[in-house]
């Protein structure tokens, strides 16, 4: 990789002060470092968030699970508090990448990177989570804006994500057998405000399947999804799967997720 200036700030404020237009934030580095090794990214400055105290805290407070930006996938997967409040979230974290990636990769990195095939965005959108930054809060529905694009401003750092505890939820993915990225992943949550269905891996960005949500609001069971599919027009078409196959997988994964959520 190209060389860069390395910074290890001790606070979020200090980190914000180090940001410039050619800088990159480093959380776990499991996406950023491979990108830099391939010379697809050439940051002038790398700002390592790994030394900021308290940024990896996990807490469950009544009806909300709050996970700090630098909490690793392994720590979320192993958290009995998370597993007790939102088992689907702990389960999702336990299926990201492999053990070694989970020991280093972070929720903040995954959500801010917004890889179209990442798992966490499905939970953030599916549960209607709130993304907290150093300067504001952003609703999940407003956060993911495109391929690797989010509502985060250049000088903004994601600090934590808070997830409302649903009545029931499940995440099911059809994983790429090599990378474990989602070819299609569907997160279904039954909340007091209705059912939410978030799809990752299939399109340029995580999205909600509103037709499925309407059907599940009327009848929360897998059979309610019979004959309901997302259009394949805008779905990804690559060497892993065609757009039509992905559209098919969305329905299959959604049904399995509803079943896993008790529907």
């Amino acid at each position: 990789m190209y060389d860069f200036n390395y910074h290890r700030p001790g606070s979020v404020d200090e980190a914000v002060g180090l940001i410039n237009e050619d800088a990159k934030l480093l959380a776990g580095g499991q996406s950023l470092l491979p990108t830099m090794k391939l010379r697809l990214a050439q940051p002038s400055d790398v700002i390592d968030l790994g030394g900021i105290p308290g940024l990896s805290d996990i807490s469950v407070d009544g009806s909300t699970v709050t996970i700090g930006a630098t909490a690793t996938h392994a720590s979320v997967a192993a958290s009995s508090a998370v597993a007790g409040a939102i088992p689907a979230l702990a389960d999702l974290a336990s299926g990201i990448g492999d053990t070694q990636v989970r020991n280093v990769g972070t929720i903040g990195g995954s959500v801010a990177n917004a890889d179209p095939a990442a798992d966490y965005p499905a939970a953030v959108l599916g549960l209607g989570a709130t993304v907290h930054t150093n300067s504001r809060t952003i609703a999940a529905d407003d956060f993911f804006t495109g391929i690797f694009e989010t509502a985060l401003a250049e000088n903004e750092i994601l600090t934590k994500v808070s997830f409302p505890v649903p009545e029931a939820a499940a995440y099911v993915k059809f994983a790429n057998p090599a990378s474990r990225y989602a070819i299609v992943g569907v997160f279904v949550a039954k909340t007091s405000d209705g059912v939410r269905v978030a799809v990752t891996g299939a399109g340029g960005s995580v999205f909600r399947a509103s037709g499925m949500e309407a059907a599940l609001n009327a009848n929360f069971s897998a059979s309610a999804l019979d004959g309901i599919a997302v259009a394949s027009d805008d779905l990804n078409n690559d060497l892993h799967a065609s757009a039509e196959y992905r559209a098919h997988l969305v329905s299959v994964m959604a049904k399995r997720a509803v079943q896993a959520a008790g529907g």
Partner: protein, 155 residues
């Protein structure tokens, strides 16, 4: 150049490094600990797995500087007083290797696996070693070795 300090296999080490130096380069090129291998260099194959503060990590996908102050254990740090670690002994006993290139990472991942799953069944072992690729053995003897080691480690 910035300086990095950490503890590797129980010994305090310190060196100047370019910021882009990966942990695996630091171990192999600065410390001459060449037991940690670089296979794919893309965090897929697991030949570079070491323990950082007790957890298995791919040393090709972390910067040396990220690990300031960390406790790092490599394959060279496992044997104690000339006695192989039970995981190493089990790999030898069951011939859990052919060419041996993946073995250091495989052993390091397997030790972390047994730590988190003291009595793993075959499925748990195979899933736990998903991040390590072996192109020789077909994994059968690796699974046997990990099971034996788990038993011998008191699981």
């Amino acid at each position: 150049m910035p300086n990095v300090s950490m503890t590797v296999n129980g010994k305090a080490v310190s060196a100047e490094v370019e910021p882009r130096t990966l942990l695996v380069q630091f171990l192999r090129e600065k410390l001459s600990l060449t037991g940690t291998h670089v296979g794919c260099d893309t965090s897929q194959c697991g030949a570079c797995v070491v323990h950082i503060n007790g957890k298995s990590v791919k040393a090709c996908t972390t910067l040396a500087l990220q690990n300031e102050g960390a406790e790092v254990t490599t394959i060279e740090g496992l044997a104690q007083n000339g006695e192989m670690h039970p995981m190493q002994a089990a790999f030898k006993e069951h011939h859990g290797l052919q060419c041996g290139f993946c073995t250091p990472g495989m052993v390091m991942s397997a030790i972390d696996l047994v730590k988190t799953h003291p009595n793993p069944d075959e499925k748990t072992i195979r899933e736990g070693l998903e991040g390590n690729i072996c192109r020789c053995t077909g994994y059968q003897n690796i699974v046997k070795a990990v099971k034996t080691a788990a038993d011998n480690m008191g699981g």
